[in-house]
């Protein structure tokens, strides 16, 4: 997913001389093409993320569209106050591209896990939050990002994510994509867990439960129209996300359910901070309830 995003961005970089790319000393070989094409617009700013965000803001105030890259905790949590004030308050064309959403960094451990990023970014009024489900979507979002106005947070996984699509999807920022039309229950997810939800739905095929699957690739602004239609047509919406259970998409859906007097069930499957964080990504997902089997079991239980 990461390579797909930056290969596409590299083509945009060639076409648009306003694009500047900054990295906080991460992305081995990822940026060789950018540097070779135009070294005046690519900078490894060193291990100094707060400065990276300030630089991006100054560049953007002078007309540049700036992409900042790092691993999520270093990109989002370390310089969050610069993001809040310099980027978001001024509504600048800065794209924060975070790698390692959820447990993607596995055994690297809690320092590298991206677990609270959506919650933080949701508090910023101008920030658009997107999270592609696979490499094809990452390509599409890379394209769309260069035409978007205002700050964006782009939450990437890392590598070898299972494909959700077989070609680049025609998604639009702010418009949730319905991948399957089912009945009674809707699963909502984004990023890596979209394909896990798809597998969960396959496991339910013998149970006479046919959930819809909605890819909420844009977490903010939320596609209220589509979500409210789901409320109208389903007895339960279940949000599955590789993020802490507080403050993420599940919270956003619960808020909308409360505001719109949804009478059905809202259920949230997310990461439990009380559990272990030592293991490979697949192990950690499964141990936090993010496996097809456990999601299918949760659906069966709730729909019984």
């Amino acid at each position: 997913m990461r390579t797909a995003f930056f290969k596409t961005l590299e083509r945009k970089y060639a076409d648009n001389s306003d694009i500047v790319v900054l990295t906080g000393d991460l992305g081995y070989k990822l940026f060789d093409g950018f540097r070779a094409m135009d070294p005046k617009r690519f900078y490894d700013v060193g291990v100094a993320e707060s400065n990276m965000i300030g630089l991006a803001s100054g560049l953007s105030l002078c007309g540049k569209m700036v992409y900042c890259y790092s691993i999520i905790p270093f990109l989002v949590m370390r310089p969050f106050e610069q993001i809040r004030m310099d980027v978001d308050y001024h509504n600048l064309d800065v794209r924060l591209v975070g790698v390692g959403g959820g447990f993607a960094y596995g055994l690297e451990g809690i320092t590298h896990h991206g677990l609270e990023d959506i919650a933080l970014m949701r508090t910023l009024p101008n920030m658009t939050i997107v999270a592609p489900a696979d490499g094809f979507e990452a390509e599409r979002i890379a394209e769309l990002s260069s035409g978007h106005h205002g700050p964006m947070y782009i939450r990437l996984g890392h590598t070898n994510e299972p494909a959700v699509h077989d070609h680049k999807p025609d998604i639009e920022i702010g418009k949730a994509a319905i991948l399957y039309e089912g009945r009674d229950v809707a699963l909502l997810s984004y990023g890596r867990t979209v394909s896990i939800c798809r597998n969960a739905i396959n496991l339910l095929s013998g149970d006479d439960i046919k959930p819809s699957l909605i890819n909420v690739h844009t977490i903010k602004p939320l596609d209220n129209e589509t979500i409210c239609e789901l409320f109208d047509n389903n007895r339960m919406v279940m949000v599955v996300e590789e993020h802490i259970s507080e403050g993420g998409l599940g919270s956003a859906i619960a808020e909308l359910a409360a505001d719109s007097d949804y009478s059905g069930k809202v259920r949230r499957i997310g990461i439990d901070r009380a559990k272990s964080f030592i293991g490979r990504a697949d192990y950690l997902r499964a141990s936090h309830g993010l496996s097809p089997e456990m999601i299918a079991d949760s659906v069966r239980k709730e729909m019984a």
């Binding site: 707060s50 300030g54 100054g58 560049l59 105030l61 002078c62 540049k64 004030m85």
Partner: protein, 271 residues
Amino acid sequence: MGDNSGHDHEYIARQIRRTILDIINRTRSPNIGSSLSAVEILVSLYFSTLNTSPGATDDPGRDRFILSKGHACSGLYAVLAERGYFAEEDLLSFAVDGGIFEQHPNMDINRGIEVSTGSLGHGLSIGAGMALAARIDNREYSVYVLLSDGELNEGSVWEAAMFASHHKLTNLVAMVDANGMQALGHTSEIIDLNPISNKWEAFGWHTQEIDGHDFGQINASFAALSAEKPNAIVLNTVKGKGVSFMEDNLLWHYRSPDDQEYELALKELSE
């Protein structure tokens, strides 16, 4: 724009101090001491140094100024009004409900405020980004950033200092208003960075240290900027400068004068 004589600058500086006193007193706002230490540098910037003007606020080639020590904004507002960036009566909208100006600067390009500041440690990075944009775009402008000495406690300042030095951002000027005080006391007693100049030199900046209340030295320092390294100017100043009972007194980081103190201060600034 043309240079003005030191006498003109001093006349303007006295007027600016009276304006600061007036708007701080009227609104019972804090931070008068931090504004009074920065008057000469602000007057020099806006009346003889910056290649910008009230008619050029959207000129991409203009020089930029960032008040990274945003708490000294009453001084900036007073100077911008005096320089004609907005009408004097706009100053009546400082620090009032629904007004124009907060107690830290809010970006307002038309009124000459380039960026919102007030959280310390942000301004130099933003300035470095602006300076870098000039290089990318082959423009000639310079970016001037005024920091406080207490602000130098922020690690992000030194992240920016490293970047600017490595990339030889010669069009970036960091000015440190070294009034020797920070929020809870003298800088020497809290986090002692003295000698400050050595720090900037060690980070690869061309560094000058001058009397920050002496227009001759300020203007000479701007004339002696390096074309090979980013530039630091350490301004030795006095917090609360110009009002005897406010000078080097921490109380005036917080307090605003009462009516009697206002009259006393005004008298000193009118002599």
